[in-house]
């Protein structure tokens, strides 16, 4: 059998992952045309490269359809219940840094903490007749964070992209989203709450606890770990 390694199929995350493995003597590359999601691995035998959407890698790991996968901590924790029972973190790859944060309009001078957000949400509900809306694609992480910190009277609204624009578009009052430099937030007149950090994420190499392995796979994994981490 072959050990299946899932890697993000496009963009900087793919390039950086290729660089990270390349620097450790294992060459990952796409084969075929620019648009084809096929790949090959040089520098070790019996490893197959699967190019997948970063968002699907947690699910594939949990289902055991891939043995190893590279994706962000944020996606693993959002998509997998009891994630640490389903996957094991082998190595943080020191790139793909992103913080999941809560942000509100800069004009809200009265809101700097979760405590303020909660009070503002109560007043907002009173005034507008509905709960303050927080746009996000990280429903689980956001909900748990807000519950832990006792924020009430909010409702999560789903936003799968351009989340920073939802406030100006009046489809949400605040957002919970990934940011790396904060530039997009500033450009959209948003600020991060001082205690609004939900999670610090980075690209991580994960091992599936569910994927079946035969003796060859175990040897391959041992050899791969030795090559990567010495």
């Amino acid at each position: 059998m072959t050990l299946k390694l899932g890697v993000p199929s496009k963009g900087r995350l793919m390039e950086k992952t290729f660089d990270w493995f390349g620097a450790r003597g294992i060459t990952l590359q796409r084969t075929g045309s620019e648009r084809e999601y096929a790949g090959r691995v040089d520098g070790i035998d019996n490893v197959a490269l699967m190019l997948l959407s970063a968002g699907e890698i947690p699910r594939e790991l949990a289902a055991g359809r891939i043995h190893l996968g590279v994706t962000g901590t944020d996606l693993v924790q959002e998509k997998l219940a009891l994630w640490d029972q389903q996957v094991e973190s082998l190595e943080e790859l020191k790139f793909g840094h992103a913080d999941l944060i809560i942000a509100v309009p800069q004009a809200w001078i009265d809101v700097d903490t979760l405590d303020d957000l909660d009070a503002a949400a109560a007043a907002f509900r009173e005034r507008h007749g509905f709960r303050m809306r927080i746009a996000t694609k990280y429903h689980r992480l956001t909900r748990e964070f807000l519950r832990t910190h006792g924020v009430a009277d909010y409702a999560l609204v789903d936003s799968q992209g351009a989340t920073e624009g939802t406030v100006a578009n009046e489809t949400a009052e605040a957002i919970s989203d990934i940011t790396s430099s904060g530039e997009t937030l500033r450009a959209n007149h948003l600020k991060i709450l001082s205690d609004g950090m939900i999670l610090q994420s980075q690209a991580t190499l994960w091992r599936s606890r569910a994927a079946a392995m035969d003796d060859t796979d175990r040897e391959t994994l041992a050899e791969l770990t030795k090559t990567l981490f010495g």
Partner: protein, 359 residues
């Protein structure tokens, strides 16, 4: 694990007990309108409801319990007094524990009767107590109304009381607020700057929250900063109240003691005493019955008076086998001006069978 047909058979038998008390059988649809109804649940249930939508009817949820649909039905066209019973599946997403079902059967009994609340509380509790006789379960009771009365009785601004009332369901948050209102926690630097008028911004106002809403909150914060702190003695009394966790007779004597220093809770404490008498009259051994002043605070959000739960004695991993309480405020919110005192409870027949199987 009991099979589905065993569970449903037991549910029917339990429902027959309630029908024998004259309860009318009701069967609310599985799919319920999500919007306003979902809003009535506390976040514990609300976040776990399965919500779906179609182009014609908009957002709908799979009923996460029966109580809210039954209250809605009663407030729309119920005669009073009324007693209802039902049996069927409820649906709740599980996000942490894969061993907990996301679909389970509840059998319930709800009483809408303004005549004698203590008797109605005792009726619901005693019926469930008797239905569970012989099982290794232990009942805990509480009354969120005592804590609510204590908060309303604090010598402080109405804004602070409202904030505490709003978080009465979130123990951690409640304590943090109480500490702050008592002047015991540090004020964040950003708040100090804001109060000193040094938080101006030239950022454009975006979104629905308007400049006057922001100004109103700044004003409220200034008023709060000027208000006197809640006294240490009052904070201690609230904490002493939250610590009451005894068998009913001892709890009552603690509550009566506390009512000397907090006369505002006297009426609520009298209700606990009346309920104790009504329970005893129904044959419930109240000398062994537990009363916890903070019981149900974290999970039973629409209850505002009597609360109770029955837990398996040797199975801390199981959810409550039965639970319930009084929800007068819920009838007010669904009644559009009308209201009626109401109390109810549910039993989970699947858990009963599981306990019996282990015996």
């Amino acid at each position: 694990m009991p099979t589905r047909s065993e569970t449903l058979a037991r549910a029917t038998a339990l429902r027959a007990i309630f029908e024998g008390q004259g309860a009318a059988l009701v069967e609310p649809p599985i799919l319920q309108p999500a919007g306003t109804l979902l809003d009535l649940y506390g976040e514990d249930i609300r976040a776990r409801a399965y919500v779906t939508s179609d182009a014609l009817r908009g957002e709908q949820m799979m009923r996460p319990d029966f109580t809210v649909p039954v209250v809605q039905m009663h407030m729309a066209h119920g005669a009073e007094p009324a007693r209802y019973t039902y049996a069927g599946e409820v649906f709740r997403r599980q996000e942490h524990d894969p061993d907990r079902p996301n679909e389970f059967v509840q059998v319930g009994y709800e009483v809408f009767d303004r005549k004698d609340p203590a008797a109605a509380d005792a009726e619901v509790f005693a019926l469930i107590h008797d239905a569970l006789a012989g099982l290794p379960v232990r009942a805990v009771t509480g009354d969120i109304g005592v804590l609510m009365a204590a908060v309303q009785g604090l010598e402080t601004t109405q804004a602070r009381k409202d904030a505490l009332m709003r978080h009465i369901w979130r123990p951690r948050r409640f304590r943090a607020l109480l500490e702050r209102f008592a002047g015991r926690s540090a004020v964040p630097a950003t708040r100090v700057a804001l109060l000193a008028g040094k938080a101006a911004t030239d950022a454009p106002v975006i979104g629905l929250r308007s400049p006057d809403e922001i100004a109103a909150r700044v004003q409220a914060l200034k008023e709060d900063a000027a208000a006197a702190p809640i006294s240490a003695q009052q904070v201690d009394l609230i904490e002493a109240l939250l610590d009451v966790r005894e068998t009913m007779p001892h709890a009552l004597s603690r509550l009566h003691d506390l009512a000397v220093d907090m006369p505002e809770i006297a009426t609520a404490v009298a209700r606990v005493a009346e309920r104790e008498a009504a329970l005893a009259a129904r044959g419930v051994p109240t000398d062994r019955l537990l009363f916890e002043a903070s019981y149900g605070r974290a999970s039973m959000e629409y209850y505002d008076g009597f609360v109770f739960g029955f837990r398996a004695e040797a199975r801390a991993d199981l959810p409550a086998i039965a639970s319930g309480g009084r929800y007068d405020a819920l009838t007010r919110r669904l009644g559009q001006g009308a209201e009626i005192p109401a109390v109810g409870g549910v039993i989970r027949p699947g858990l009963i069978l599981e306990l019996e199987g282990a015996q």
